[in-house]
């Protein structure tokens, strides 16, 4: 190759990087505007909703909460109690004990006066067989509770079992260790009942971080900002992702993922598409993509709704090891889902879903860590060759950094102007401080996890599920 070819190749690479960076920033600006508008609309629309009439009505549609549990013995009693205390009337709770090796089942039986019952299951979605069977409480106060004990098959399999058991029109799939506020169901069901011109197939909720919050017997008593950097940085990440990103995507009706920790589905549609996919670690995203795809293929006007209210609180990893394995799993999930449904990508038949949602996820989520690492490696090579134009490098780096923190601060604003959950004095300063440092401290780990996820996906197929060692919600009290 002569030097001019090299120059052209290098120039092309530079231009591509530039376009990528510029389009990322541009899309963020756009999403911020959309989300600001949608948030303010949402707050206004819901300022005088009287939920009482809906939640007490016997005409209101039935909802089943499905919560898979695997070795959750530590907190299962309290977690179930929190699920049982929802204010919606027409709902029940299905705990699927997914072959736990601990004493979860015995504990549940004892605490809730459970007895084994005869239960006819409609096997609409194939699952692993039952182990001990189906249990109900003899105490009328716990009438809403059903516990299913089945052989281990993973989270998706357990959720499918719940889909088969449920007799309700809607299902709320949640992680059993999530703390659900009492008005969660009525708020999540609203979009399904509210829209007349489109079919709402699912609604997703926000996940908030419960670390350091005061929780007593399954109830959120006090919201605190955690102390560790890694925890606060994740709060900022979640605010950005939920209050800016998803809010905007829901407005555009392009939401591709509903958090597996809390989402509500039209049960019939979920079953018709075949339930959760047991062969992916990204089952929560996969089912949404599949449901959307099926709607597009049937030409039905539909929507995936999104409720920004802080209704679901969960423990986030408080050390880098678990965080990395969590993000590694998320990365693999994203890769698997996008790969499985690559048919819809850039396919005009799938309209917005194929031409915008999918490409966005592909370029800015799926490829982000890869492009970033290539950029860094390239930069290192340039340094080694002493070929860096520092004027350019420094100016662009600074601008990128400032953009990053600006978006984070905007996310903090959207939190303050809507839900304002962190009311204590001094919290604002801490959030800002972490905002400034997060790109240098947390981000490298996230990047590492993303790269590792890619490597594991392609070269290490047998990797087992990253297990999240949870401290348990109630221990937050001691903080």
């Amino acid at each position: 190759m002569d030097s001019s070819t090299v120059r052209i190749i290098l120039l092309t690479i530079h231009v591509l990087f530039f376009i990528y960076a510029f389009s990322v920033i541009f899309s963020y600006v756009l999403l911020s505007f959309v989300s600001a508008r949608e948030s303010s609309q949402y707050m206004k629309r819901n300022s005088f909703v009287n939920y009482n009439e809906i939640l007490s009505s016997t005409v209101s549609p039935s909802i089943s909460i499905i919560a898979p549990a695997y070795n959750e013995s530590l907190n299962i009693i309290e977690n179930v109690r929190s699920l049982l205390s929802n204010h919606y009337v027409n709902y029940d709770v299905i705990i699927v004990n997914d072959g736990s090796k601990d004493d979860s089942l015995e504990k549940l039986i004892k605490a809730y006066d459970l007895v084994k019952v005869n239960y006819l299951i409609n096997h609409q979605v194939p699952t692993k067989p039952l182990r001990e069977g189906v249990f109900k409480s003899t105490n009328p106060a716990f009438e809403k509770l059903t516990v299913v004990d089945k052989e281990n098959g993973g989270k998706a399999d357990a959720l499918n079992c719940g889909l088969n058991i449920s007799q309700s029109k809607f299902v709320a799939c949640i992680d059993v260790d999530c703390l659900l506020l009492e008005d969660a169901l009525q708020k999540m069901i609203k979009p399904f009942l509210e829209l007349t011109d489109v079919k709402v197939i699912a609604s997703g909720g926000v996940i908030r971080i419960a670390n350091a919050c005061k929780i007593k017997e399954g109830k959120l008593i006090e919201i605190n900002l955690p102390k560790k950097f890694i925890e606060i940085a994740q709060i900022l990440e979640y605010l950005r992702s939920f209050l800016l990103g998803r809010m905007a995507w829901s407005r555009l009706n392009g939401l591709l993922v509903i958090s597996g920790a809390f989402g509500m589905f039209d049960k019939k549609i979920a079953i018709d598409v075949g339930g959760y996919d047991t062969n992916t670690v990204g089952e929560d995203m996969e089912i949404i993509v599949r449901m959307r795809r099926s709607m597009e293929e049937q030409n039905i006007k539909y929507k995936v709704a999104y409720i920004p209210d802080p209704l679901c609180w969960t423990e986030a990893p408080d050390n880098y090891k678990i965080l990395i394995s969590q993000r590694n799993r998320w990365t693999r999930g994203t890769i698997e889902v996008l790969k499985k449904h690559r048919k819809i990508g850039f396919n005009p038949k799938y309209k917005f879903l194929g031409m915008l949602s999918y490409p966005y996820w592909f370029f800015y989520e799926r490829l982000a860590p890869i492009i970033e690492i290539i950029g860094i490696l390239y930069f290192i090579v340039l340094i080694a060759l002493d070929n860096v134009k520092w004027d350019y490098a420094f100016a662009f780096f600074l601008a990128a950094y400032l953009f990053t923190i600006m978006f984070t601060i905007i996310a903090i604003y959207s939190e303050e102007l809507t839900y304002h959950q962190y009311t204590k004095k001094g919290t604002g300063i801490k959030l800002l401080l972490v905002t400034l440092l997060e790109p240098f401290v947390l981000h490298p780990f996230i990047l590492y996890a993303g790269i590792k996820g890619n490597i594991d996906y392609y070269f290490n197929k047998k990797i087992k599920w990253g297990e999240m060692k949870r401290k348990g919600l109630s221990k937050g009290e001691s903080n």
Binding site: S56, S57, E182
Partner: protein, 122 residues
């Protein structure tokens, strides 16, 4: 007995609690207010009241569980009146099967509540 009769009132609407408290105090009762089911149980265990008024729908521990606790765990025969909102008929039935004595559907008239309280405590 010259001592005032004690009533535990469990209700998460603070304004309503206050209103009822003033009213029942005027009638010569001693009122303890709980804002959720958990506090209610604590107050019941502590004061051993002559009457319990409880909302069905309350944060954390529901009125149903309060009744269940009073009747089954504490084995108290103290009369219980439950407050229910529209559409909670099923819950009211459950409340009765757990051992509630009477119910008032919201919105209710405080005057009528006083009449029922008096009837149960006479």
């Amino acid at each position: 007995m010259s001592e005032k009769k004690k009533i535990v009132l469990a209700e998460d609407n603070s304004t309503l609690s206050l209103l009822l408290k003033f009213r029942l105090q005027k009638e010569g009762y001693d009122i303890f207010i709980a804002k959720d089911g958990k506090q209610a149980i604590e107050l019941i265990e502590e004061h051993n009241p002559e009457l319990i008024l409880t909302d069905i729908m309350m944060p954390y521990i529901s009125g149903l569980e309060v009744i269940s606790h009073v009747r089954n765990k504490l084995e108290m025969k103290v009369p219980i009146i439950v407050f229910s909102a529209a559409g909670q008929e099923e819950m009211v039935l459950k409340a009765f099967s757990l051992g509630a004595n009477d119910f008032m559907g919201k919105p209710f008239s405080p005057n009528e509540l006083v009449i029922r309280v008096k009837r149960l405590l006479s």
